[in-house]
Amino acid sequence: MRVCQRCVSLLLSRPLSAVLQHSTRALHQRSHLTLLQHSTRHTLSQRHSRQTWRHFADHQAASPDVYNMIDLAQKEVVPLNSDVHRIDLDAAVHTSPLQEISEEEAVQIQVPSALPPESSTLRPYVDKSETLSKLVQLGVNLWKLEQRPNVGSMLVRLDFHADVAPRLLFLKDLGVEESKLGQLVTKNPFILTESLDNLEARVSYLKSKKFSKQSVAAMVSKAPYLLNFSVERLDNRLGFFQKQLGLSAEKARDIVTRLPKLLCGSLEPIKENLKVCELEFGFRGNEIQHIVTTVPKVLIANKRKLTQIFDFVHNTMDVPHSLVAKFPQVLNAKFIRIRERHLFLEYLGRAQYQPSQPNYISLDRLVFLPDDVFCSEVALATLEDFERFQKTL
């Protein structure tokens, strides 16, 4: 494991708040050495880090390196304190801690921060960092974010007033509810590092495509990564949905508003699913259009599970294509549920899915109703009977 020893400029000359902005960070085990913003210190730490790694390889001892680094830092950056090295231990000039001092002097003593230079969690930094405490108050799940590599360090390094606040205000202007902001940032912390110009450009692009303000806000809440994608990519996707599916502009907008994940992911699985629907299942063009406008999730569903459900519904339950196209919710349901309920109805002799015949059971009622309502209304049996039947499958 690589030991990332970092030179911590121990705060002896600089006030506390500035120190927090630049020098402390949370280190995740897998993250690389990150460098300070100040340019001289940048080169300094690089030099020292290379030295320390070499040092570490030679001597296999961590502690002497730390002292070396700290001393060097003090020497380079704070030349006034170079006397540290040359303290004469026998001199009786130094102040004793029991000496009394005035109130102002006591108050102005700079306390070196007890913050650890690196940590695997954000807990030590939350109370001291304004950004992190404000994020927690907003409802951002810092624990989840610190599991992701490098995100923790990034968050600590953000400045609340310069980086975070303008973007949060931008999202609020867009119409995203305040309660949803926390979830949004938890899912996509990189929205806080995206440049405001890009964000505004993408929002204006969406508005130019005649998405209403509320729909843009809803899309951003549902798909937090949406505004991190470039305008070309969004354009490409929207164009695909309109052309390939042959939908009108309004229907395409409707699908995308309901399932904005379509704009975020890759187009290849969607193309595969469409091919499967057309060739394997044998749906006609207008049936596919109807299915996709009713249940857009079919486009990003797992191909194998979709095939399993359709195979069972069409071949075992003997439901024709037209009925499946009429009730596409059945393709979105869980296979186990469909199977158990169908076998129960078959056992009771009530498996009637043709609308022309009496005692017809529509597919959406089969799938959508909760268990107790299904048992009482559709199967006309008790819940215990259904459970006993489940144990015979």
């Binding site: 102002e104 939350v126 927690v136 951002v140 624990w143 459970e387 144990k391 499958l393």
Partner: protein, 358 residues
Amino acid sequence: MTSQAVRLFRKMDGLFAVYKPQGVHWKHVRDSIESNLLKALNSCPPPAPQLAVQFQLLSGGENSSSKDVVLSPSMVPTLADHPLVTGPQFHKVHVGVGHRLDAFSSGVLVLGVGKGNGVLEHLCKSHVTRDYTLEGEFGKATDNFTHTGRVIEKTTYDHVTLDKLERVLAMIQGANQKALIMYSQVDLHTQEAYELAVRGLLYPHGKSPPILTGLRCIHFNPPHFTLEVQCVNETQKYLRKLIHEVGLELRTSAVCSGVRRTRDGPFKVENALTRQHWTAGSIIQAIAHFSKATRKIRKSEMYKQTAGQLNSNAQVQEQTRSQTEQINQQHVELSSSTSDTVVDRETPVTLSEGRTKH
């Protein structure tokens, strides 16, 4: 001072049974049960955050160099204990699986939580019998012995009658009885061995291949037929192969269209939890229900261990045998009424009895 979450966690210790649906891998069952238990544990209110003393610098005047600077302490809850920073209270609940069921089979699956996992191991290694219901279909043979596999051959099955099937089953059971006697390492010429055999309390010691202690046909409707099996030390693939061999013996071919476990030791299908009941409340209830059986298993294992230590002591060995026999006897008594016809298969009286039962 224990929190609500810790009290709930301490209740999750023991064994319970779950009905695994067909087509689902046992690992998914275990994972969903674990996530349901964790969900219940983490929904309990977290402990109160610690308070920390913060000194806030309040200056009297506007300029920073004023003389009346006052440091005022105050107790403020630390954000470091906020649940969004610390994460959930529980990250893992140890849920173990007993004798596994492959994805094609369904039925009783024993799971252990917390301290029950130790007992689970003993249950697996002990020679408890398990009840299965096998559904077969004559007419074809596939590569993996199931009706969903690739078909290798197709045959006619008009010549198969219930009588022939029963004869084949009797022959298979005879062979298994011989194996049982051999692996149980008893000398059948002794009186005790004879009594054990009559009561159906023989079981294999040490390592043994799968042995069927009971086998009969419940339902015969060509091409479909259903067998009920009691076995020791088996795998589901062996049982599907059994169906295939039954077909071969009848000069036709057969595939297995369903393997369903109805009993695993003392855990029966009536008390197994279905999918809707895989929640923390029902699981804790089920653990309480099976606590007696769990305690018996633990006790029998303790006896076995002491017997292993004092290997030379024949009396202790007798005691172990009687303990494990008690458990098996309870299985035999408590399991469905089909088992009482299992032991004396040789006599033709019981054959007809078996047939008229359904």
